[in-house]
């Protein structure tokens, strides 16, 4: 019974994430308007038949802007977390496999990067690169690299000691072959869970950065930006800010729930715990 509830939860999470990804990819198909089309006559409206979620301060359709905002947000975050996984994973696996001074140097550098509060390091990186969607993505990638490196090094250390790795080495397999074919596949579940959880966090960071004016720049549709623009017209028409916030929440929530229920399903040791 309990297992069934958990799998229902996983199904729900997958659905929530897939629907939002489809909406983002298919934004040009689903969106009722052009995201840039302004209309002076219909500014700051609440939800109507014409604009389901209302219009913003320039009369642009909020629903359309949210769908395109999903796109911006997902592109930035998938890119950022992907790069972090690639860089952090490579560093973590290299450290675990070769040990010794290489391990010590790599992990020291990761410790230093990890020491910065996330937003502060991200702001510092954007100060260097200049505010842009891709600067925000680069900042998130740098910030999450040490997390992946630390996370994958631990289980990799254990796997390097295992008998099948010793066996592979004995029959003369190359280092790359051992790392990619023997160690990596055994960590698939850790990687999957953590990628999903970090995507959830990355969506919030990207939205925060755009909200501060450091990420995506106008007029590109962005969820964080919609919130900060809507804030100036809060007393006139709060709809754009409210709906953009819900969109950020749903997107981040979906990935977090996905990671959480994946962890339960993939790791039998944790089943029934949390």
């Amino acid at each position: 019974m309990k297992y069934l509830i958990k799998n229902k939860l996983l199904t729900f999470a997958v659905l929530l994430v897939v629907i939002q990804i489809v909406l983002a990819i298919g934004a040009p198909l689903f969106a009722p308007y052009d995201p840039m089309a302004q209309s002076v006559a219909r500014r700051l409206r609440g939800p109507t038949e014409l604009n389901w979620l209302g219009t913003d301060q320039l009369g642009r359709d909020v629903l359309t802007r949210i769908l395109y905002g999903y796109r911006t947000s997902l592109i930035a975050c998938v890119l950022a977390v992907g790069i972090a996984l690639l860089a952090g994973g490579t560093l973590g696996l290299t450290a675990a496999y070769y040990r010794g001074w290489l391990d010590r140097i790599i992990m020291r550098i990761m410790d230093v990067l990890f020491a910065f509060p996330v937003m502060l390091l991200a702001i510092g990186i954007i100060a260097v690169l200049g505010p842009h969607t891709y600067s925000a993505a680069a900042a998130i990638a740098v910030v999450y690299t040490p997390i992946f490196a630390r996370l994958l090094r631990g289980p990799a250390l254990v796997l390097c000691e295992s008998e099948f790795v010793a066996g592979a080495r004995a029959i003369g397999a190359s280092d790359a072959r051992i790392i990619f074919l023997h160690i990596l596949p055994n960590m698939a579940s850790v990687i999957l869970v953590q990628t999903s959880l970090l995507l959830s966090a990355a969506i919030l960071v990207e939205a925060s950065l755009s909200f501060l004016g450091l990420g995506t720049q106008p007029p590109t549709p962005s969820l964080g930006l919609m919130l900060s623009e809507g804030r100036n017209f809060l007393m006139l028409s709060p709809w754009s800010a409210i709906f953009a916030g819900f969109a950020i929440l749903f997107l981040s929530f979906g990935f977090n729930l996905l990671g959480d229920s994946l962890r339960d399903t993939l790791d039998p040791r944790l089943r029934g715990q949390s």
């Binding site: 309990k2 230093v112 910065f116 909200f211 715990q273």
Partner: protein, 337 residues
């Protein structure tokens, strides 16, 4: 006879010294770690200004005044970019160790003063949010652990994840909106120092602290819940129950004490998250904290000020975590191994 007597007296004393030596070794190792991390942090922050694509000095000047060769040379000299890079670092880090971060490029005030002026509101906000989140997390987590299993579990889990992923800056905006409808007279924006008007200060800090605290509350209460479930499964809990202690006492005295250890470590880690969150939430509530300082500095490309702010806050965060770690070693002998 005397011999055994002396040995008997000796053993605890010896034990004490061994303990002390072990503690010192652990402390020393941690201190070395701390110094290495702080050194690494300073290197990264130092390199920031050198990594700016193009001519950093021209970019800094271009944001504020007309670029002339004289002005460029003068700024180059002030920021110290005209010296060899190692010498630049030694001068910069040496001055920073004495609390001297130079003068702000455009206001002419010392950077350290600028940071101190803006530090207090951010620290207060971070502290209040941490207190609200941590204090509420204990009863909520205990309650979650006691009523675990079935549909209630799923509902709480979804609730906790929602709390974790709700954007605090959005929560802040929604709260301002609701409050302006329900209680139009309630001052929720801006900042007054606590020393000038304690009630006005706390009144204005209420909404931002709640907005910032919610994700912490969600995170920590989940942690308390799983630590409590762990603790409640232990043998000493069965013993406590068997000797007829009331359930309340079993949960809050016997289980909770042991569940609090992982809780304390994550409170240390949370401060970093809170500091970042505070920077964003400050913008919503118009609080003149570090967020305003650093965003203003980015807008006018005042790189030395950005560098100093990041360095000071990160160093503070690292040192706080070191102290939490150290307390943890003092409290829990198992970590010393």
């Amino acid at each position: 006879m005397t011999c055994t007597g002396a040995a008997f007296l000796h053993a605890p004393v010896l034990f004490f010294f061994e303990e002390l030596a072990l503690m010192n070794r652990v402390l020393l190792a941690r201190l070395i770690d701390l110094v290495i991390v702080l050194f690494g942090v300073s290197i990264i922050v130092f390199l920031m200004i050198r990594l700016i694509p193009g001519d950093a000095v021209a970019i800094m000047l271009g944001a504020n005044t007309e670029i002339t060769p004289e002005r460029m040379a003068e700024l180059n000299r002030r920021v110290g970019l005209d010296r060899p890079i190692v010498e630049q670092y030694v001068l910069w880090a040496g001055a920073a160790l004495h609390g001297d971060f130079g003068t702000s490029l455009w206001t002419g005030r010392p950077v350290a003063t600028e940071i101190l002026m803006h530090l207090w509101p951010t620290l207060e906000l971070t502290f209040l949010a941490l207190v609200i989140g941590a204090v509420l997390a204990v009863p909520v987590g205990c309650h979650m652990a006691q009523t675990h299993g079935g549909a209630a579990d799923v509902a709480m889990r979804i609730g906790a994840i929602a709390g974790l992923t709700i954007p605090s800056f959005w929560l802040g905006i929604v709260m301002i909106l609701l409050l302006s409808a329900w209680a139009p007279g309630f001052a929720s924006l801006g900042y007054v120092p606590f020393s000038e008007d304690p009630i006005g200060n706390l009144q204005r800090m209420l909404l931002p602290s709640i907005a910032l605290a919610l994700p912490i509350l969600a995170n920590l209460s989940r942690l308390v819940r799983s630590a409590m479930l762990d603790a409640l499964g232990q043998d000493y809990i069965r013993t406590a129950r068997a000797k007829g202690l009331p359930e309340r006492r079993v949960v809050y005295k016997h289980a909770l004490r042991n569940a609090l250890i992982p809780f304390l470590t994550s409170v240390g880690i949370m401060t970093g998250y809170l500091l970042g969150g505070a920077i964003v939430v400050e913008q919503v509530f118009a609080i003149p904290g570090l967020g305003r300082l650093i965003l203003g500095a980015i807008a006018e490309r005042n790189y030395p000020l950005i560098q100093a702010t990041i360095l000071v806050v990160t160093a503070g965060f690292v040192i706080v975590n070191f102290l939490v770690d150290f307390l943890y070693i003092l409290v829990d002998p198992r970590v010393r191994a």
